[in-house]
């Protein structure tokens, strides 16, 4: 995953070279796959969901996969992104292109707040504190119903037309909507890729690998954790903005800890610590839920069992396990 300066390059087979090229252009590869997605899945609504949750989980992966911090409260940032987009458009009358950056900025501020408290703790404590603080956000949203719509959810901000360089585009059309939202995803993918390739990207991996050593190397570990918490929250909030524009409502459940749990499930399913894992995990989870819930109303038992199996036997997720199995890929690691 980490980009290494080219030293003595071992001789690569053509397939290995192809793989190397693909992972060097991982953003492009992701975008091509995403562009095909709506034509492969049974419905456009499902494809948009993969897009949205892919971005949310990708942001979460920065924290969980790359830095090793198991947050159980990431719904707070997904929800905050969605709510603030909706509130900015519906209540304050802002256009969507102003509402989205505002929502991301405010969600990042929320991440700074929650991060300041939670990064003071370590290990399991961190998980529980993030969980409880996110629940606090949930209850605040429930109570502040004049702003959020409370239990009824936020509505009344349907974006039906988007003006692109003077060209009005019907945003209710599922295909248009998908590709416009894909632009958000592309931006998020690019930013995530830059972060991972940056010096800071190396720092968070070092912290995950060995926090004590990272500190002894001269890194302010607590501050780094706070920064990555904010970055992670910001990227997940992008997914929230997309969700608000897509559904034209914000359900209160988007802040609930079960949403956080779903995000964790998705990243584990796809493979933490990998660039493609989050989207693969989101797609697998959502398709699975779609298919299994058609067989039986007890789809949760299947989802739960699959999750248990992954924790026990495939902790690296689908993509991680695939990489381990592929000699082509192993040379890259």
């Amino acid at each position: 995953m980490t980009v290494q300066s080219t030293g003595e390059a071992p001789s690569l087979s053509p397939s290995q070279r192809l793989f190397a090229v693909l992972s060097d252009h991982r953003v492009l590869v992701s975008l091509v796959a995403l562009a095909l997605l709506p034509w492969l899945l049974p419905s456009k609504a499902l494809a948009v969901n993969v897009l949205i949750y892919g971005v949310v989980v990708m942001g979460y992966n920065l924290l969980f996969g790359y830095t090793g911090l198991l947050s159980f409260g990431h719904a707070a940032f997904f929800g905050a992104g969605a709510y603030l987009t909706g509130i900015a458009i519906g209540r304050w009358g802002l256009p969507w292109f102003a509402a989205v950056p505002l929502a991301i900025a405010a969600s990042t501020a929320l991440a700074a707040l929650i991060g300041t408290i939670s990064t003071r703790t370590r290990g399991i404590y961190f998980s529980m504190v993030t969980l409880a603080l996110a629940q606090l956000v949930y209850y605040v949203a429930l109570q502040a119903s004049s702003l959020t719509g409370g239990e009824n959810g936020l509505r009344g901000f349907t974006v039906d037309r988007i003006n692109l360089l003077g060209l009005p585009i019907n945003f209710l059309d599922p295909v248009n909507k998908y590709y416009i939202l894909m632009a958000f995803a592309a931006l998020a993918l690019w930013v995530q890729s830059r972060i991972l390739n940056s010096p800071f990207g190396a720092v968070i991996e070092a912290i995950r690998e060995n926090e004590q050593r990272a500190r002894a190397c001269g890194y302010d570990v607590e501050r780094c954790k706070l920064i990555v918490f904010m970055l992670s929250g910001a990227i997940s909030a992008v997914g929230g903005c997309m969700s608000a524009l897509h559904l034209s409502i914000v359900p209160l459940d988007s802040l609930h800890y079960q949403t956080s749990g779903m995000i964790v499930m998705m990243v584990l399913l796809g493979g933490a610590r990998s660039f493609f894992g989050p989207f693969i995990g989101a797609a697998t989870f959502l398709i699975l839920e779609d298919v299994v819930s058609l067989w039986t109303p007890h789809w949760q038992i299947v989802v739960g069992a699959i999750f248990v199996v992954f924790v026990l036997f495939l902790p690296k997720g689908i993509w991680g396990t695939l990489l381990d199995g592929l000699p082509v890929a192993r040379a890259q690691r």
Partner: protein
Amino acid sequence: MSTALLQAEGIGRRFGGFTALEDISVSFARGELTSIIGPNGAGKSTFFNILSGTLSPSMGTLRFKGRELNGMPQHRFVHQGISRSYQITNIFPDLSVHENVRVAAQAMRVSYDIWRRRADLVELSERADAALASVGLIGKRGEQAKFLAHGQQRALEIAIALVSEPELLLLDEPTAGMGPEETKEMVALLERLAERRTVLLVEHKMKMVLGLSQRVIVLHHGRLLADGKPEEIRGNPDVRRVYLGQSEGYG
């Protein structure tokens, strides 16, 4: 005393009701290789952890190049010029050998840059390679650190500590768990390192310490028992009684 690089005055440390360290005052001159010895529970590790910022002292002051270090968080110590290794191998196991050292080098320059490409920071990569070369690991630079042999991992940790170009290098039992062959290589490495910087060692292997060090400090029950040249320590009756007699097996 103006030449002292690091100066400890009346250092003490308590854990709850237990006093691990009491009233230690020593100073370390530039260019010396000093070893700290003492039987188990003598307070070596506590003292070492205080010198490297891992623990803060309950009392006393610590000065580095005349600047007080009390209350400074651990990560700032490296930036002052104090770098350490750990008794139990402490590296980044899943990263490549090169990345292990490169990320340590990076700490001295950039921490929070989220936008530049790290591959563009060529100078850091070169410095990492130089550090690897100096501990003889350059041939392994592409391997995952956890697959190195034990002795090589210890050398890697020293490279990590070295790459910050510390004025004071603190090494906690660098030969722990090593066989005679690996130990010999490590001693040679330590001698080379000591030529250019101040080194402080915590060690168990008596013979090695006495042969290698210019100065030896002996701790016992959290107090300073002896401080002097190796030959003085060898002749010190107190040291013989509490330490040398018991640790024949380490010799």
